[in-house]
Symmetry: C2
Subunit: 222 residues, 2 copies
């Protein structure tokens, strides 16, 4: 995938994101953005996804964090290309924007990739407002964070395509139900796609993989 | 507490924060900032604190959220003055800054207050960079978020005075220990104050109340 990034694009986040999305689509690569609060389990979900995908070499991840290379190291150990972006070296530290994502894509050969995941900095607020070039966006909401978070962070629901209610194995200990979270998600977006998953037990992961495969099939069918 | 906010102060966040801190100190009010990821339990901790404080009418809270009045309603039900700031109506939505905090203080009579808590928007990244007028800052780190968060969000440790490792009742279910989190906190700040608490079971809350009382005594002793 060659992006051909011009100076004009570097100064216009949304134009660069659109350009990135088009180039990836033309190359047959689905780009899936992941966002959530810190510690909701984005990296763990990707580890479980990599284990289950028929050919891990066809997945790649760009991962944003304020600091550390820890997540990229975990993902490389799981068998995929993983490119770490540390936002403390950029102007805005609390979210990715289109420039480091485009630079990361330029830095590696992703031609045989099926899905490029872009795991944003753990932050339920800011990332929703910045396009990166993703074709779809997924928000993770852990039951441990409480049932009220969709209402308190409306962009995280309104600007995403799928809500994953996650860590469902912990629901009995925190008095938060999948149903309670789903009701609040759908108060904001009545037809929201919602899946309940537990990366720890594996519950719900088949439905998540089917959702990903459907996105890939749709992109490649044009 | 009368702040006398001038136009100069409104345009300089740090100067306004310093002005607010001085006015509160002069009035004998300790201002304690709380920050954490979404759903780490800041509001629940305040509910438990209010129940245990000798005179709840001497506590007050300014609470920031992107949207909803939910937290202020919970805190009022617990018996304190609670002023909600919705950051979606301000320029920066992901954290409080000194202006809405000063405006909130001006809006109510807080003269007989011992402790004014400022509960920031749930966000482990951005709030650390903005002074509000607090005399001390507390970060909550839930065991459910994983042991790596201090390293990934260094400002949340470096710019705070106390780290509360919280939801310790859930530690057995998430394979994250208080010790593991404490080690990572102290890799960044070797002498960090750390307390382990469970607002659910009450474990550790006496130490937290003692820490608050010590801050109040120190301020009033000058």
């Amino acid at each position: 995938v060659k992006l051909d990034i011009t100076q004009d694009l570097l100064s216009d986040n949304d134009a660069l994101a659109e350009h990135t999305a088009k180039k990836l689509r033309d190359a047959g690569v689905v780009c899936v953005g992941l966002l959530s609060s810190p510690g909701s389990g984005k990296t763990t979900l990707l580890e479980r996804t990599i284990e289950r995908w028929p050919d891990a070499s066809r997945l790649a991840v760009i991962v944003g964090d304020v600091a550390t290379e820890a997540d990229a190291e975990r993902l490389r150990a799981a068998g995929v290309i993983a490119i770490q972006v540390n936002t403390e070296h950029h102007g805005a530290t609390c979210h990715l924007d289109a420039v480091p994502v485009a630079e990361a894509i330029e830095s590696r050969e992703l031609g045989s990739t099926d899905i490029l995941f872009v795991e944003n900095v753990g932050n339920l607020g800011c990332p929703g407002g910045y396009l990166l070039g993703e074709h779809c966006r997924v928000v993770l909401l852990s039951v441990t964070e409480g049932a009220d978070k969709p209402l308190k962070y409306p962009k995280a629901i309104l600007e995403t395509d799928l809500a994953l209610v996650t860590k469902t194995d912990l629901a009995p200990y925190v008095e938060v139900s999948v149903e309670g979270l789903t009701v609040n998600i759908r108060r904001l977006k009545p037809k929201a796609d919602v899946l309940a998953i537990s990366p720890k037990t594996g519950d719900g992961l088949e439905a998540w993989l089917a959702w990903l495969r459907a996105r890939l099939d749709a992109l490649r069918a044009g």
